[in-house]
């Protein structure tokens, strides 16, 4: 036991004291927020083609089409009656394109043709299609004798509120979107962390083997202790990073709140504190659950909304506050931690065995595939099945199978999972973990002292027995 601790201490301290670790711990959340922000900015702001395009329009009744507002960035002109010259103009670049609408009622499928000298983007195609469809609908309404105002009143909107009837007879406001978001964020965290820290364990085992340190170590430590010390040490590094991120996230929210408290913006201090607390309640929950960059960004956004303090923003904050406070935090957190640790231990024992078996980095690939496949598969299931139908049979099945349960179960957790299912799934995970650690340690024990030729699956099997 003492030996496991000595190994654990070395693994933990050398990593935590490492400059890269310290920098990345502080930088990673900011990078993640920055990355998301940049993606969203690029997607919304600069993704569109902002050239102004002059396009000929020909229709059975061109005045009708042209009398309507053209789509943004388009200037519409009546097409010359002679189609050859229209095409020639397009070809010579006098106009960007020629939109020929053959059927005024637009009932047939190929009702319009767009001629251009360059292949239009999907967005451009959709914009034009939507515009024609819109105009056609309006014409149809007009034909039915409806005026513009009446048409607008026909467009009804609906917002579906969801309330959950809990066991105690309470009816609580819930938000499926919020739950999906939290579940997915947590699953993503587990997925990434298992990969990152699992391969850390693998590289550590490989380093000891290739640097020939391992023989000295196993002369005083059992290979099993060495492997466990290593796995636990790296796990502690991961948890340290979690804690650092939570502290960082909470600190960030406090910082931003403090900033807006000082600026005042004409609201009462009480209101400001209230909003700050609301923002933090949400944030705290998210932060504890995930400590993710997403949490930081969300907390940041919420505080920013608070800072703006328009009544709309406050309504929105209030709208989120109830579902947020109704989330089963304890369950989510417990499931996340238990399944993260369980999943990490399970996979990292595989990674340790691989690291001990190979002689160089390039030999890793052949063994990695079967190990990472279930992990990737679990993530795909989490993204699709579990998010769409968290209580469905498929989601239930994969949240029981130990290789996928760490990811799939956390997606289901915010939607509420019966205790019996959680207990069964976690029990299976622990059993598999114990079995796999034992099997891996058998490979590890021989792998670390086997040099020379590249090991094969057959060798691993031999070592297992």
């Amino acid at each position: 036991m003492k030996n496991i601790f000595v190994i654990f201490k070395r693994e933990y301290l050398t990593r935590v004291k490492n400059k890269t670790f310290i920098i990345m711990t502080f930088l990673a959340p900011l990078l993640m927020v920055g990355f998301y922000a940049a993606t969203i900015y690029i997607a919304t702001e600069t993704g569109d083609d902002d050239r102004t395009k002059t396009v000929y329009v020909s229709d059975n009744n061109p005045e009708l089409l042209l009398s309507h507002n053209p789509p943004a960035n388009y200037v519409l002109l009546p097409a010359p009656s002679d189609s050859d010259s229209a095409l020639a103009h397009v070809e010579r670049g006098l106009v960007h394109g020629w939109l020929s609408v053959e059927d005024r009622d637009l009932r047939s499928v190929d009702s319009a043709t767009y001629y251009t000298s360059e292949t239009p983007s999907i967005t451009e195609k959709e914009t034009l299609k939507e515009w024609i469809r819109n105009k056609a609908t309006q014409r149809q309404f007009a034909r039915l004798g409806l005026r513009e105002g009446q048409i607008d009143s026909l467009q009804s909107s609906c917002s579906l509120e969801t309330k959950e009837v809990t066991g105690q007879g309470d009816v609580q406001e819930t938000s499926s979107g919020l739950k999906s978001g939290i579940g997915f964020a947590l699953a993503f965290m587990i997925y990434i962390f298992i990969f990152v820290y699992g391969s850390m364990v693998m590289r550590s085992a490989m380093e000891e083997k290739t640097n020939r340190i391992v023989e000295v170590i196993v002369s005083s430590v059992k290979p099993f202790d060495l492997m466990m010390g290593k796995i636990l040490g790296v796990a502690a590094v991961g948890l340290t990073q979690f804690v650092a991120w939570i502290v960082l996230a909470v600190g960030l929210v406090f910082g931003i709140s403090a900033l807006f408290l000082n600026s005042g913006n004409g609201m009462t201090t009480q209101q400001a504190v209230q909003t700050g607390i609301e923002a933090r309640t949400g944030m705290g929950g998210m932060g504890t659950g995930s400590g993710s960059g997403a949490a930081v960004s969300m907390g940041g956004e919420m505080s920013a909304q608070g800072a703006g303090m328009s009544s709309g923003a406050r309504d929105m904050a209030a709208e989120f506050t109830e579902p947020l406070s109704n989330l089963p935090y304890f369950q989510i957190l417990a499931v996340f931690l238990l399944f993260f640790v369980g999943g990490y231990l399970l996979y990292s024992s595989f990674f340790a065995a691989i690291g001990s078996a190979v002689n160089q980095e390039s030999d890793v690939q052949q063994f990695m595939m079967p190990v990472t496949l279930p992990l990737v598969f679990g993530f795909v299931i989490a993204q699709t099945v579990a998010l769409k139908a968290p209580h469905g049979a498929m989601a239930k099945l994969f949240s029981m199978i130990p290789l996928t349960s760490p990811i799939v179960m956390v997606v289901r957790a915010p939607f509420g999972v019966p205790f019996s299912e959680l207990a069964l799934s976690f029990g299976l995970l622990v059993l598999t973990f114990v079995l796999m650690v034992w099997l891996s340690s058998r490979i590890y024990r021989i792998g670390i002292l086997s040099y020379g030729k590249k090991p094969t699956w057959k060798d691993l099997w031999k070592w297992l027995r």
Partner: protein, 329 residues
């Protein structure tokens, strides 16, 4: 003297290959035991069993009279042939880690690390990472890492491989110092350079079997085959003196670079070295007369170049085989 470690009929098989066959050995306290053998003879396998890394398939290993168990590892130091250090760790942290691994408390470990770093004039390197220090320096750190905990048994597998001559001498001095302090040392090598000067006792392992075992001087004496060397300032004529006895044979004649000539004779029961000396004294200016005792190197080459079989003078399973030594070439 008491035995620190003892192996009794130890066997180990890997797959089809029998790597250790009924090996017996005993290392006395405060002695240096040389384990010789060509590459692939099974030395490392034997050493791994002695240092608790692997277990024998059959046979027994005793550490100070007790059946060997993992906790005994704390009383052993082991420097494997394939060795290395954590490149990204500082010298001091690294040594501290190894000391704690060998069971020292953090406080004792720190004291020991300080003692050894001072002893080897390396204090200023303590905070440097291993990748920042010279190779020679790293070799010293490597050696220190296995003696930090004052082991009672130090196992060194090819300790001088990869060491430069200056460091090799330094390590040699340290080994002798440790021995004088009562540490027992097992010293495995396929090179004979240091065996005669360092070892008290040696065993030759060949194809997984121990083919020879004994005290170094004892073995050399046992391998003495009655060959004597007689040297003169210049070549002499032996003439009828030799043939007259008919009992001693001139086996070689060698002219040295300084002009001296050395003759080698095989003596026998009926023609003693005394007779040879008397005969030689009348032949010319005698400068040298000595018994030719084979070097360990010669014994080693002779032993491993023949198929493994019981060798004269070798103790196998505790019984001395009483057969005549084979003539040395």
């Amino acid at each position: 003297m008491s035995k620190v470690i003892e192996a009794i009929k130890v066997c180990k098989t890997f797959g089809e290959q029998r790597v250790s066959k009924n090996i017996d050995l005993a290392v006395e306290q405060g002695s240096i035991y040389g384990l010789l053998g060509p590459n692939g003879a099974g030395k490392t396998t034997l050493i791994r069993m002695l240092s608790t890394i692997t277990q024998p398939d059959s046979g027994e290993i005793l550490f100070k009279g007790e059946a060997l168990k993992e906790s005994h590892a704390h009383q052993m130091g082991y420097m494997p042939e394939e060795r290395g250090l954590y490149k990204k760790m500082t010298v001091a942290d690294q040594l501290l880690f190894f000391a704690e691994l060998r069971g020292l408390s953090t406080k004792d470990a720190k004291a020991s690390v300080k003692h050894w770093l001072q002893r080897l004039d390396m204090m200023e390197w303590a905070r440097k990472k291993v990748e920042e220090i010279s190779k020679g320096m790293a070799q010293k750190v490597q050696f220190v890492s296995c003696v930090l905990h004052n082991p009672q048994l130090l196992i060194l597998d090819e300790p001088f491989s990869g060491f430069d001559p200056v460091n090799a001498d330094l390590i040699k001095d340290l080994i002798i110092e440790l021995k004088n302090q009562g540490t027992s040392i097992i010293f495995s090598t396929h090179r004979m350079d240091n065996v005669e000067s360092l070892c008290d006792h040696l065993a030759i392992i060949h194809q997984g079997e121990k083919v020879l075992d004994g005290g170094v001087s004892e073995i050399r004496r046992k391998y003495a085959t009655g060959v004597y060397e007689v040297g003169f300032y210049q070549a002499v004529e032996w003439g009828g003196g030799m043939s007259a006895t008919g009992e001693s044979t001139l086996i070689s004649e060698q002219q040295q670079s300084d002009g001296k000539v050395v003759y080698r004779f095989q003596t026998s029961d009926s023609f003693s070295p005394d007779q040879l000396l008397k005969l030689a004294m009348g032949k010319g200016n005698l400068v040298h007369f000595s018994e030719h005792v084979p070097s360990i190197h010669e014994i080693f080459v002779d032993t491993v170049s023949r198929p493994a079989e019981p060798i004269a003078g070798a103790t196998i399973a505790g019984e001395t085989i009483a057969s005549k030594p084979s003539p040395m070439s």
